[in-house]
Symmetry: C2
Subunit: 347 residues, 2 copies
């Protein structure tokens, strides 16, 4: 198996910089669109054979060094008891939004193996099919980012409901976060037991906070998940790297550095060498090309890939990635070229 990704996570020597791409199984791939014509998004997530198939598509098409489970960060939220729909232009809609004790009480901490069995099933299929190829990354929304969807009832522009709950009803927020934190922890344990060889926690929306609020209302919960996951792993004698990704992390790096993860995912709004300096600790980094840079001509993409590789060379380990998910409008050919550039330039 190609283990460059796992080695880079652990800070071990690698022959070249490994690369994978957030949302690499997605709409920019014709192969993916073909399957999506037959089934809707949620059905795809819940049908292990199909979810495994789209997970593998980018491995064949792009030559990336890791696969990431095809799923959605709202799967555990549905399992907690909320109604989940995906509307064509609007994105996910969760009902009813959790903004009071009554709504919160209706939600439970799910049993991953029974309530989200299709996810573990997908992982098992994938481990068999990828056995001699690349490692499989599992994932979950981090507790805060998961909670924003529950409070807002979907995505949001300024996260006003979330911040109002935090600032006006901190006790309600704490109870919600307690349920979400346990859910996320148990979900990741189940994924690892099923065979995930690394896990990524997505804290896509944590960058809406000042460092002070991040420290108080976001960080303690994600640190709890990672620390508990690590103690459990130690007891079970497992060693699965944890990646923690925060969107718009540039103001928060000093706060994030003690989260306990092996790898910090960096978005594109900061130079990765500055991020490494500010993290100031023995961690690997992942990132950080602007997804929109893939619309540039190839020479310009080359320049950027080289720049990031050079800047990231001071980290103990570097996994190349975009700074956010690949956009549906992106040319798959450019994505494949980028992967090739990362491999050839870093050799």
């Amino acid at each position: 198996m190609n283990d460059t990704f796992l080695k880079a996570c652990r800070g071990e020597a690698v022959p070249y910089t490994p690369v994978w791409i957030m949302r690499q199984a997605g709409r920019y791939l014709k192969q993916y669109q073909k399957i999506r014509k037959k089934v809707d998004f949620l059905t795809l997530c819940k049908t292990p054979e199909l979810a495994a198939e789209v997970t593998i598509q980018p491995i064949d098409a792009l030559g990336v060094d890791a696969a990431i489970l095809f799923s959605d960060i709202l799967i555990p939220v549905e399992a907690m008891g909320m109604k989940l729909k995906f509307l064509e232009k609007k994105g996910p809609v969760l009902t009813p939004p959790v903004r009071n004790e009554t709504a919160l009480k209706k939600l439970s901490v799910p049993q991953p193996e029974t309530d989200m069995g299709f996810v573990m099933e997908t992982i098992k299929i994938l481990r068999k099919e990828l056995a001699t190829r690349v490692p499989l990354i599992g994932f979950s929304g981090a507790p805060f980012t998961t909670a924003t969807y529950m409070i807002e009832g979907g995505t949001s522009k300024n996260f006003l409901h979330t911040k109002r709950m935090i600032f006006e009803s901190p006790a309600l927020y704490a109870s919600l976060m307690s349920k979400v934190t346990t859910t996320v922890l148990e979900y990741l344990k189940a994924q690892i037991k099923a065979g995930a060889q690394a896990v990524q926690l997505f804290d896509t929306w944590a960058g809406i906070f000042s460092p002070l609020d991040y420290r108080e209302y976001v960080f303690p919960y994600v640190r709890e998940v990672i620390k508990s996951l690590k103690s459990w792993q130690a007891a079970e004698n497992i060693r699965v790297p944890v990646i923690y990704f925060v969107g718009s992390c540039s103001g928060l790096l000093e706060e994030m550095r003690t989260c306990g993860a092996d790898v910090i995912g960096i978005d594109w709004r900061i130079n990765i060498d500055d991020a490494i300096k500010r993290l100031d600790s023995d961690l690997s980094v992942q990132g950080n090309l602007d997804p929109c840079a893939l619309f540039m001509p190839k020479e310009k993409i080359q320049y950027r890939v080289k720049d990031i590789l050079k800047r990231a060379s001071s980290a103990r380990g570097h996994i190349f990635n975009l700074g956010h998910g690949v956009l549906p409008e992106t040319s798959a050919e450019n994505v494949a070229s980028m992967v090739e550039m990362v491999h050839s330039f870093s050799r």
Copy 2:
């Protein structure tokens, strides 16, 4: 006249920290809503007596140390020749979006005094009415942020059209920016001639870029505006401070510091003392309370106000402000208390 604001802009000693609030003339004030019931938003912008009235409302209601012209950053875009509408839930809509040479050619650089005469008229009224009270701040969108609205045809989520133009058609982008830059420069000169005592350039959306792209595609244009404005001022023997505000600036501070402004506006996603350190130059700063913090109980607002005042004490000058515009749902009473806290804690 209360000149604490102007003194802080220039880094001179002040008896207390001056404060004003982005979007302080707005929907969170009942007085403002009363006038908006009678006229729509654009009519309000274009009726000097009414625009002056709402500009003064927060001076009476809150006791802030500066007034900011009531207007909209899209006024010069309409004057360039685009059709502008404000839809109730959607926000501004500009037609047709500027995405090719043909659309660009239809736009001209406006003559501020004739094409946006109502703005200069409003400023003249305000200078008379505010004469013994507080200074008046004029403003414009910075060139890049103004251009995003023109390219996207309104607001946007990921600014894909803008980034595609920049990355796929850099020459088209450069021609657009040349027109916008001249427009912004002439508009600010006209505001200063009419009586604006400081001006703020809003680069609300510049934070969508990596430092590399900010340096290449955003910064040169805003620096050109500020440098030209400063040379013109020197020739005319005028001395009007320039404030440069970037939303989500935390990854870009090192790039921004040589922009030529007197004051850098900081959003809330970074500790203001870290921002001051990273700016590493002789500039005043403005900011940076999270607008959502105004939903907290007063003791908690107090704690944050004190924290920001303390952190900002290392700057040559500090103007207290929110890190973004005040939200319509905010309690006007909390805003007024915050202003009072800034004054009393900093004395």
